[in-house]
């Protein structure tokens, strides 16, 4: 056997572990196998989130709250993501909910497989990414298709509306087609006041209908990214 003994700095990983367990205590011990949640609990969570936002003096649109409420109302208890600015408030809301396990990914395809495993174990997962990550998911979508695993993926669009960065355009343009080629049903969310209804419909298609669903959240609705301070 050619493996020589591995030697580690004695305290490196335990230190990392301690720091991590302190920061990740949120959500441990939840019971994600039971998707039922009470509406009053949901209302409490939403009120708390709203108050926090108001206290911070933020004038923010309400649709991320609507998406969060729709997800929780649909029994979602796992949330995986590669961060995107358009998802940032939703990610914060999910992190703040002790009944949701959040998982940050190194690449978007990991979250596809995570969603499959969650369903095997009786839990419902949501997957959040930007359109630039859709290409990374292509082969992993075979898993969802071959096994008819529910997939609920919320995709913030780049490259389609007042895009500053031309590098975002090719994948943005290919996003709906790439998903559809892999058998994913594509829904569009264009208007903030449709957020709750669209996400609840997508969740029903996924979790009740064993569907693979992506909701593309339009760049127009997300608003322009501010590239230069004081200018648009």
């Amino acid at each position: 056997m050619a493996w020589a003994p591995l030697a580690w700095p004695a305290d490196a990983t335990p230190g990392l572990r301690a720091a991590r367990s302190a920061s990740l205590r949120i959500g441990r011990g939840a019971s994600p196998a039971s998707p039922e949640i009470s509406m009053s609990a949901l209302a409490t969570r939403t009120d708390t989130a709203t108050r926090t936002d108001l206290a911070a003096g933020a004038a923010q649109p309400d649709w991320p709250l609507d998406i969060f409420g729709a997800l929780r109302n649909s029994g979602v208890t796992q949330a995986s993501y590669v961060p995107d600015a358009g998802h940032s408030r939703l990610i914060s809301l999910l992190h703040a909910d002790p009944e949701v396990r959040t998982v940050v990914l190194t690449t978007e395809e990991e979250g596809i497989a995570l969603s499959a495993g969650a369903w095997l174990g009786g839990a419902r997962a949501v997957h959040l990414m930007q359109s630039s990550g859709v290409g990374n998911c292509i082969n992993m979508l075979s898993l969802m298709n071959a096994c008819r695993f529910p997939l609920l993926s919320l995709v913030t669009m780049r490259g389609e509306w007042a895009e500053f960065n031309p590098w975002q355009v090719p994948m943005g343009r290919a996003t709906p087609g790439a998903l559809e080629l892999m058998g994913v049903t594509v829904l569009r969310l264009e208007r903030p006041d449709e957020a709750r209804e669209t996400i609840e419909a997508a969740a029903a298609l996924a979790f009740d209908g064993d569907g693979q669903i992506a909701v593309l959240i339009s760049q127009r609705m997300l608003g322009r990214k501010k590239w230069v301070e004081g200018k648009r």
């Binding site: 056997m1 050619a2 493996w3 020589a4 591995l6 580690w8 990983t13 335990p14 990392l16 572990r17 991590r20 367990s21 990740l24 011990g29 994600p32 196998a33 208890t77 796992q78 396990r101 998982v103 940050v104 990914l105 190194t106 690449t107 395809e109 990991e110 979250g111 596809i112 497989a113 995570l114 969603s115 499959a116 495993g117 969650a118 369903w119 095997l120 174990g121 009786g122 839990a123 997962a125 082969n139 992993m140 075979s142 898993l143 071959a146 096994c147 008819r148 695993f149 009740d208 064993d210």
Partner: protein, 197 residues
Amino acid sequence: MNAVSGTLDRRKAVRTLLAERGDCLVVTGLGSPTYDVFDAGDHDGNFYLWGAMGGAAMTALGLALAQPARPVVAVTGDGEQIMGSGALMTVAMAAPGNLTIVVLDNGHYGETGMQTSHSGLGVRLAALARASGFADVVELTDEASLVSFRPRIREVSGGPRFAAVGIASGHVERALPPRDGVFLKQRFRRHLGFQVA
């Protein structure tokens, strides 16, 4: 860097590891690990991947988070885990106490003609796991170490654990489990008490 060649018989190693599996739930990586786990004894609590290369550890993570009271084991190969090497970081940071990742490491891509993998060229998967944040990392290179590690895959706390198993790269006959994904999914979920809609 030292290229590695293990000596354990892969079928015997997996049989040894799963001999007292208790209520372990097992997810397998495509190719030989799927065949090895099937050969060790088919079980409703096995979910065999026949594709989705790189997805075994993440599938097992989703399952482990959903079922914190059950021990979950991913059994995969070095090539499959290397394709999903970022997942080692993701799993370690998610820190599920009930998850063990077992990599059957022969340093080669067995299903495609025994081309040398990164592991065979010198990448040390145990070191990668450790650097990714796994505190509990072992390398198992003989029968005795497999037997002494075996009870730990049934633990639901203290994980995630990572075990690299040094297996030989010789040819092994295929042993083919069912490959209908919907069947495997429903069988697994029924095992956990979930009804088919």
